[in-house]
Amino acid sequence: MQAMQRWLLFFWMAAVIVLAFVRPAPQQQLGDSSRIFYFHVPCAWVTVLAFLMTAIFSVRYLMKKQVEFDTKAALSAQLGLVFCILATLSGSIWARFAWGAYWNWDPRQTSIFLQLLIYLAYFALRGSLPDGERKATFSAAYAILAFLTVPFLIFVVPRVFPSLHPSDTVIGQEAQFNLGREVRWIFFASLAGFTLLYYRLYRLGARVKVAALESKGMQ
């Protein structure tokens, strides 16, 4: 079963990657550089999703005080950090071609950079505390507090300040899809693929970490 899931995900992602490059570019004006849409947006999505999961596990830790939830929160943040770096780098490369500079502090770039800082601060806090209840509680509280700022970063900042970032590509003004049919299919296939990839990595990591916790408990 596990092996089948793995192969299924492998072929799914492979198909998405091939289609993303073989089919016509999603946006005519931007040409080939707009193909980043298929990879950059899912990365940014997983960045926020992973942090949401960290916040949820943190709440559960504070409620139940079980080490397992703390481990899972940290694990999800680790994966989120990887996707956050990927989203930042891919966006930056795209900005070089579309806007002429790798970095120009567009509100979206500011937001993703601050999300990166939140992840790094979370790990800085974890690193500065010895293992135990205090570390788990403090990092849970910090993750939840930091998550409260995410709506401001994602929804408020890019809408109050002028941004060059395409913002209505997926969901338009009237919440209708602005995408062509084929683009939409590839995009959502990619979004599903990236989400499943995150989920798979998370499950894999959780199994290892929980087993480690159990073996530590047995000794």
Partner: protein, 222 residues
């Protein structure tokens, strides 16, 4: 004792112990003075745009806050009075007492910062009502966002650096909007131009204040 009375007595205790060691308030004032001095001295009297003014202003306030606000909980760790405080008062009273005390510290600091900033940098043409509104709300937000991190940092290693590292990402939305609001105010802009900042600052402060006060109960007990 009621919650309000407990909060009041925590605040009173903080104020009293602070006034007993008047030099520590003086240190904070001096720190504020130095930061404004460095900025204005290096720029001499070259005219500054409203954007640069508001950036400098909030950078000064941010670092002064980083220097001053972590002390409220650190002090308890140093004098080993945490346990007594935990026994005597309920967590939420401690949180709000400390928060009001931090508010007092920051207002005190701004009392020195703001006049110096206006005089030394030759600021003119400012919409003062707008500026003070943004300053007031920004200060509330700063305190709402940092009281919890101060409590976390007090029990961690490498406290000073960690406080700034933990607080900055949380304060970033606040700083972005406070800078935008005071930029408009420095340029003499009216209500329409600062309204978006003011509204966001209010919602930020409400969200952070509520969130921190709930989370504080958990971290105060461990």
């Amino acid at each position: 004792m009621s919650w309000a009375a407990e909060t009041r007595s925590i605040l009173k205790k903080e104020l009293r112990s602070e006034l007993r060691r008047r030099w520590s308030l003086g240190l904070l004032a001096l720190f504020g003075l130095i930061t404004v001095f460095v900025v204005s001295f290096s720029l001499k009297t070259s005219p500054l745009t409203s954007g640069i003014l508001s950036t400098f202003f909030w950078v000064i306030v941010f670092f002064a806050a980083m220097a001053g606000l972590s002390r409220s909980f650190l002090k308890e760790e140093e004098t080993k009075t945490v346990l007594a405080l935990r026994l005597l008062a309920r967590p939420s009273a401690v949180f709000w007492g400390k928060l009001f005390f931090n508010l007092f510290l920051l207002f005190f600091l701004e009392l020195i910062l703001v006049p110096l900033f206006f005089i030394w940098l030759n600021v003119s043409g400012t919409n003062l009502t707008g500026f003070f509104l943004v300053l007031f709300l920004g200060t509330l937000g700063l305190v709402a966002g940092t009281t919890l991190t101060a409590a976390i940092v007090a029990k961690s290693e490498s406290k000073g650096v960690l406080f700034a590292i933990l607080s900055f990402p949380i304060l970033a939305p606040l700083l972005i909007f406070a800078m935008a609001g005071s930029k408009a105010a420095f340029a003499g802009g009216g209500w329409e131009e600062i309204a978006a900042s003011v509204k966001t600052l209010i919602s930020y402060t409400a969200v952070m204040g509520a969130g921190s006060s709930i989370l504080f109960d958990f971290i105060w007990e461990v």
